[in-house]
Every structure is written in structure tokens, then in C-alpha cells.
């Protein structure tokens, strides 16, 4: 914690409240996202203006469609219509939460976008910030390691 505080003071882009590997989600977030016990969830934060998100989302949707893992998308667009348009355009089948009041994204406080969190039993198992070339392969490997 002390190290984290020092780093946060030195680098203003880091936040003290950012959820990291090993941190627990609040009961409120778990309830909002309807997370079930003993299931691994991939929580993906995205926005319609984020080009890397657009690239990754179809790959993440494939993972959800072949039932590799449960996926929850969290759209952070100011206007919900923009998010809905993107979901329709990319034909995303996984559940999407529209975080227009930014309560969820501010709780997670990701350090980059797109942001992918692996969560099991309310605990963050791993985090990926920024674009990953073949995110589907990466998630599959990570899920295999987790299971």
C-alpha cells in the first residue's frame, strides 16, 4: 500500500482507488453486475469512440459465443445510444451494462482503455489494459491457467 501511495503521488496518472489483481469488488458492484459464485467472468470496459475496443469486441464476442467464459461488457459512452449503436453494429451477444453515470468505471478506475478484468467470486484475478493484438487467444490462455 505504501509503495502504491508513493507511485501514485509521483505519477498523477495512477490512482489509489484503481482495482488491481487480488483486489475485491464491492458487494454493490457484484450485485449490479449479477455475478454468480464460482464462475469466471471477463469484464470488458469499452466505448464507441475507442478504436482498439472496436477491434477487440468481436474477438471477445467469439469467446462468449463458444462458451469459453462468461463475458460482461460495460459501455462507458456519455450517450447510451452511441453504445447501443456499436453493440448492434458489431452484433455483440454478451450482456452489456450501460454505465452512463460512470459509477462502475469510476469504481474500477482502469489505468487504460480497453480494460479487461477477470473476476471470480468477487475477486480480480487479472487485468489487461490497452489493446492486445489477439485478445481472444490471450483470454483463452488465461482462462485455461485460471481453471
Amino acid at each position: 500500500m505504501f509503495k502504491k501511495t508513493i507511485y501514485s503521488l509521483l505519477f498523477s496518472s495512477m490512482s489509489l482507488l484503481a482495482l488491481e489483481t487480488g483486489d475485491s469488488l464491492s458487494q454493490n458492484i457484484q450485485n449490479n453486475l449479477k455475478l454468480e459464485a464460482d464462475k469466471v467472468y471477463v469484464i470488458d470496459f469499452f466505448a464507441s469512440w475507442c478504436k482498439s475496443c472496436k477491434k477487440e469486441l468481436p474477438l471477445i464476442a467469439n469467446i462468449y459465443n463458444d462458451k469459453t467464459v462468461e463475458v460482461i461488457g460495460i459501455n462507458v459512452d456519455k450517450n447510451q445510444e452511441d453504445g447501443e449503436r456499436l453493440v448492434k453494429e458489431l452484433e455483440l451477444t454478451f450482456p452489456v451494462v450501460y454505465d452512463t453515470d460512470k459509477s462502475l468505471v469510476e469504481s474500477f478506475d482502469p489505468l487504460g482503455f480497453p480494460a479487461v478484468y477477470y473476476v471470480k467470486n468477487g475477486k480480480v484475478l487479472n487485468v489487461i489494459f490497452g489493446a492486445v493484438e489477439e485478445i481472444d487467444k490471450k483470454i483463452k490462455e488465461d482462462i485455461k491457467a485460471i481453471k
Binding site: 503521488l9 498523477s12 470496459f45 466505448a47 469512440w49 462507458v76 468505471v105 478506475d109 487504460g112 480494460a115
Partner: protein, 73 residues
Amino acid sequence: MIKFLLLAMSASLFMGCSLIKEVKPWEKETLAKPIMQFGGLHPEVTKFESHVYFSKEASRGGSGVAGGGCGCN
């Protein structure tokens, strides 16, 4: 005493940093707009205008536009 002074100086330095509110990753919608890219919405137009300018003024540089420098390219 010196330690205290150092601590106070460090604290004031860090407080200065904290005055600047950071832009969070999910707040970068405006920054992600095409108009925000270097050279504006149509960088090719900016490049062309720059070419005309340095050809007329017989001077170039400082704008980051690549070219031959003779004004004939």
C-alpha cells in the same frame, strides 16, 4: 529539522502536481475525435497548404511536412 523541511518541501511539490486534474481513460472521447489528430481533420489539406506556403515564401521547416525543399515536388 532538516528531515521535516524536506518532508514539507516534498509535500508541497506533490500538492502542486495534484492540482492538475488528470483525464481518465474513459474521458478521452473528445481527444479520440478525428479533428484532434495532428494536422486537423484533413491532414492532407494541411500538408498541401504548407507546401504552397513554403513554395511562396521560399522557406520551409518547423511544420513537420516532409518534402524536397525546392518547391517543385
